[in-house]
């Protein structure tokens, strides 16, 4: 218990004194997770909408596959991205391995299924009466779809926040493709992994508390947004 308490005290110290290294790592964690989330959202929300608004054979199966991929292990995506971007791999010429850029790409791939899947769920949750009424009033297919998407916007926001949460909290991929390079690719989770492997439990707990605090702030912001609906 003492260890946990000391970790808590240390976390407060690190936050209050704006410890430059901790601030830098936290900033990098946020920036990488936000960038991957934005990248994934730009691709996945339109993609999820396309899947929802179109009828095609195998649609149900596709949605099942997407939902299964919600829980794809981070190390599996990590290995895949590593092999793709390693110098010996097909995209090796870009020289992106062990950079924050490849971490953004990897995390975007990791959270893509969540964003596509939850976008479909959000759109499916919209009352059918809304597009039907719009159509009856003379709206064309696209206008009806836009109306449905407007109604589903909070569900989509949930999708984005879920994706952000998975991106900022994962460690396997960040470690494999980022390499946990101090001052360059070290993020909160990989720093925790390193510090606890060094037996520096207090700093690990402190970094863990900061990570949870960041997640809490984002969730509170989302909740407030939804309550105002």
């Amino acid at each position: 218990m003492e260890e946990i308490w000391n970790g808590f005290v240390k976390a407060i110290q690190l936050i209050v004194t704006l410890d430059p290294e901790v601030m830098e790592i936290t900033g990098r964690s946020l920036a990488i997770a936000a960038a991957s989330c934005l990248l994934a959202s730009l691709v996945c929300i339109p993609l999820g909408s396309l899947i929802h608004f179109n009828r095609f054979p195998g649609k149900r199966g596709l949605v099942n596959v997407i939902q299964t991929l919600y829980s794809v292990p981070t190390v599996v995506i990590g290995l895949l991205i590593f092999l793709l971007f390693s110098r010996a791999g097909p995209l090796g010429d870009m020289g992106l391995l062990f950079t924050p850029t490849v971490m953004v790409i990897g995390q975007a791939v990791l959270i893509a299924p969540i964003l596509v899947g939850l976008t479909i769920t959000a759109l499916s949750g919209v009352d059918n009466a809304i597009p039907e009424t719009a159509s009856a009033l003379g709206a064309d297919g696209i206008q009806a779809a836009v109306l449905t998407m407007r109604e589903a916007r909070f569900g989509m926001l949930t999708a984005i926040v879920m994706g952000f949460g998975r991106a900022i909290s994962e460690v396997g991929l960040a470690l494999m493709v980022g390499g946990n390079i101090a001052g360059f690719t070290r993020v909160l989770t990989t720093a925790i992994a390193l510090e606890s492997s060094k037996g520096d439990i207090e700093l690990s707990i402190a970094l863990g508390i900061i990570l949870i605090a960041v997640a809490l702030i984002i969730n509170i912001a989302l909740n407030r947004l939804q309550q105002r609906k």
């Binding site: 830098e24 990098r28 960038a35 926001l157 947004l225 609906k229």
Partner: protein, 296 residues
């Protein structure tokens, strides 16, 4: 509309973060992505990292050669693999047989030993297996024989793991059989530090390099049990990755050579030899660049 304002704020925040990432957190030291400053990547065995040695050397090298140094820590096996794939420019490892193979196959230019120390078999002070003062091979024999105490293996293809297998072989064991010998043999699959912490939790034995042991000593209830035997010699080498085998790393071939000159320079050799004396009362590494490679 208040929620629209918040939504816009969120979008702004995310875009800003993205910009920051792309621009590479220019305010953070060493955080540049689009910076013109060259980057050199070194993959190092964990013992040179966990002991803090690279933390000391990195800023000195960066300043002297005006280059961003990226230090990746991994077991020697993975470090060599990074080298083979061309993902790093230079490696510092401790596994002579595989290093020689790495150079012979053309992946590395040259193997240059720059420091050494010794491996130790550490365990609880009570020495439940009764192996104190034995030769490493005899100690392993007794550990396998009684099964009285657990042995934690790195089990991760690291240099230390390679040495452990060499001792089993020298003691007349088939390593594949040792792995399955019983619950006393535990494959940790972790770095040296975590393996020591695990051995401490289990109050078992493990093979460790002396430097990591000294650096972790304060957190452990373990003492050196076996520390004599020529098989326990532990030599660290630096190997620049061969640009001809990996044309894409040619960019940093010169900087990789700089790294070799740096590590073998008298000034840094002295720094390596003095490292840890203040904190642990004894040096962690013995410099050996320019001298014949130690054999025992």
């Amino acid at each position: 509309m208040p929620n629209k304002t918040i939504l816009r704020l969120l979008i702004l925040l995310i875009s800003l973060s993205l910009l920051l990432t792309v621009a590479g957190c220019t305010t953070a030291p060493g955080g540049q992505i689009l910076s013109a400053r060259e980057r050199l990547r070194v993959a190092t065995t964990t013992s040179l990292y966990d002991t803090g040695l690279w933390g000391l050397l990195e800023p000195i090298f960066e300043k002297k050669y005006n280059v961003e140094l990226d230090v990746l820590y991994a077991g020697s096996g993975i470090a060599l693999e990074y080298g083979k794939r061309g993902d790093v420019d230079v490696i510092t490892v401790h596994d002579k047989a595989r290093e020689q193979q790495f150079v012979a196959e053309g992946y590395g230019i040259e193997r240059i030993p720059f420091a050494y120390n010794y491996f130790l078999i550490v365990g609880p002070a009570s020495d439940p297996a009764g192996i104190k003062g034995m030769k490493p091979e005899d100690a392993f024999n007794k550990l396998a024989d009684g099964g009285a105490a657990s042995f934690i293996s790195r089990g991760d293809e690291s240099g230390t793991h390679a040495r452990e297998r060499a001792i089993w072989k020298s003691a007349g064991f088939d390593y594949e059989k040792v792995r399955k010998a019983g619950s006393w043999y535990i494959e940790g699959g972790k770095g040296m530090g975590p393996t020591l912490l695990m051995a401490n939790e289990k109050q078992g034995y493990t093979l460790t390099d002396a430097a990591t042991f000294l650096a972790f000593k304060g957190k452990l209830n373990l003492i050196p049990i076996v520390d004599k035997g020529s098989i326990l010699l532990n030599v660290y080498s630096v190997i620049p990755v061969n640009p001809e085998k990996n044309p894409k790393v040619a960019l940093n071939a010169q900087k990789a050579k700089d790294m070799v000159s740096f590590l073998t320079s008298p000034e840094i050799q002295k720094l390596i030899g003095d490292y840890g004396v203040k904190t642990y009362g004894t040096p962690l590494f013995i410099p050996c660049a320019g001298k014949p490679e130690p054999t025992e």
